[in-house]
């Protein structure tokens, strides 16, 4: 008995029918879309991880530098008052490396946190360390339970999470013993 080929399918050696080709193309397209989706998702995930990781690294480096430089502020134990220069987004603290005429300047400018030193009479900031970009930063003095000044707090807002501030509190390298007005 002669077998009748099913509609659209051929057992001939000459090649595929249109329907076979179409099915194959559809399967390949679906597989392609799935693979592309997978690669794209993986790519996005990697991007996200890289971005988060580099953000963490940037914050860590900023924290380390802020802590190190603020730690070099040594207010002599005999002091009772100290004049801080505070402006919007900027603070200048004297007694950097124990010297009253040497100021540590921390400021937020052009999406970057800038830390450096300058003399009491000078304008130019030296030894500049710049970190960023950040979407915003708040810089303020840190006080203890009794209101005593003990360091600096920097709140950094990253571009990825602009509403979620990261607090860095850095202690001065030394503090006065009996500072009523600080």
């Amino acid at each position: 008995m002669r077998k009748t080929p099913r509609c659209g399918f051929s057992k001939s050696d000459k090649g595929f029918t249109y329907i076979e080709m179409m099915v194959a193309l559809i399967i390949l397209s679906l597989a392609g879309v799935l693979v592309w989706q997978g690669i794209s998702t993986a790519g996005k995930l990697l991007d996200k991880i890289s971005a988060r990781s580099s953000e963490t690294m940037r914050l860590m480096q900023t924290e380390e530098t802020v802590r190190e430089l603020v730690g070099r502020i040594k207010i002599p134990f005999w002091m009772s008052t100290m004049e801080l220069e505070e402006e919007e987004g900027e603070i200048a603290i004297p007694f950097y490396e124990g010297r009253s005429d040497n100021l540590l300047v921390i400021k937020y400018e052009d999406s970057s946190l800038i830390i450096g030193t300058r003399g009491t009479d000078g304008e130019q900031i030296e030894g500049v360390n710049s970190f960023g970009p950040f979407s915003n930063a708040e810089i303020e003095v840190a006080r203890g339970e009794e209101g005593e000044l003990f360091g600096i707090t920097v709140v950094l807002y990253t571009e990825k999470r602009p509403s979620d501030g990261v607090h860095i509190t850095a202690r001065f390298g030394s503090n006065p013993l009996w500072a009523k007005d600080l």
Binding site: G43, T56, W78, S80, L177
Partner: protein, 342 residues
């Protein structure tokens, strides 16, 4: 050349590109993880060293002989036991030297410590012009060699009203109040008081008289300015002890100085015992304002090279709060300086 081979090349290219991106990301993540671990290790190291330093301060507070600090105190036994352990602990009395901010001209002239061609009057003028200093070097290198500065002087010292250079007291008063005129008047008040001294009978302000002498300034100046002996006989450098005891107005026999130096490592004296060893000249001269039995500023250094934290070290300067009318029974230390390195 087969034309349909271009698909394979394209796929290979995409795969190669993806591999490079993945490898780059992997390496970056590895680096990030390493850095984060390093940071965490450093923080754990800091915590461990801080806990050790706090333990030492607790031992100083709980000293069973609070009236005197000597090598017989329990903290020294703990330190010697910790030798060879993973943390190296060092405790140094940093206040039992001449206070660079207050040492008097006469003592400097007696000790001959200044550089050739420099006089104590020039040093007094320099201090008057520049105020109080927290650094020995380079601030005073014009007047002393580095070796002399580190062996004989300290910036960590309270100001005993009886032995301080009066201009240094004026500087201190000005720094505490910001009032230049009142500071000048305060210096004149001290100078006036000293004018009442007679030969062999100097006028001195004893701890119990300090509040009355200072009056309303007591609140501002005490305990930075006090009447407690500045230098601990148990830890002072030998040369300083010899210089102070042999100073013409103190005039203590050399045999007494030798007795003190020979026995101070194995004995602990309180102030009365020190008086009975030195004799009548201890209380009748300024000597009892220079030499006592208490250490006011300690330096604690803790260092570790362990594989756990790598090489980390912590340096603390802690100050003992002199007792006054309001805290006569309390024993308190405060951290005034901290330095962590890794």
């Amino acid at each position: 050349m087969r034309e349909n081979g271009s698909t394979t090349v394209l796929i290979l290219g995409v795969l190669g590109f993806l591999s490079i991106v993945t490898l780059g990301t992997y390496l970056f993540l590895q680096y990030s993880i390493q850095e984060i671990r390093k940071y965490e290790t450093k923080e754990h190291g800091r915590e461990a060293l801080t806990a050790e330093a706090e333990k030492l301060v607790d031992m100083l507070v709980q000293d069973t002989t609070p009236y005197a600090d000597s090598r017989l105190d329990a903290v020294w036994e703990y330190i010697s036991e910790s030798e060879g352990q993973k943390m190296r602990v060092t405790l140094t009395d940093v206040s039992s030297c001449y206070g660079i901010n207050w040492v008097r001209k006469e003592i400097l002239d007696h000790s001959s410590l200044m550089k050739f061609g420099k006089s104590s009057a020039e040093l007094q003028q320099y201090r008057w012009d520049t105020g109080l200093h927290l650094h020995l070097m380079p601030d005073f290198q014009e007047f002393f060699s580095a070796g002399v500065l580190h062996s004989f002087f300290t910036p960590y010292s309270y100001f005993n009203i009886n032995i301080c250079d009066e201009f240094a007291v004026e500087n201190l008063y000005f720094l505490r109040t910001g009032d230049k005129e009142k500071a000048r008047l305060f210096r004149l008040k001290i100078q006036e008081y000293w004018k009442g001294s007679t030969p062999g009978k100097p006028r001195m302000v004893e701890p119990g008289e300090l509040e009355g002498f200072l009056g309303s300034d007591f609140e501002v100046l005490f305990p930075l300015l006090n009447a407690s002996p500045a230098i601990n006989v148990h830890f002072a450098p030998e040369d300083i002890l010899y210089q102070l005891l042999s100073y013409q107005y103190h005039n203590v026999p050399q045999s007494t100085a030798e007795f003190l130096l020979y026995n101070r490592g194995t004995q602990e004296w309180n102030e009365d015992e020190l008086e009975s060893i030195i004799g009548e000249r201890y209380k009748s001269t300024f000597l009892h304002h220079y030499v006592g039995v208490t250490t006011w500023f300690w330096q604690i250094e803790i260092e570790t090279h362990s594989g756990e934290y790598g090489h980390v070290s912590l340096k603390w300067i802690v100050a003992r709060i002199p007792s006054g009318p309001k805290n006569s029974d309390q024993r308190e230390y405060r951290l005034i300086e901290e330095e962590f390195s890794h």
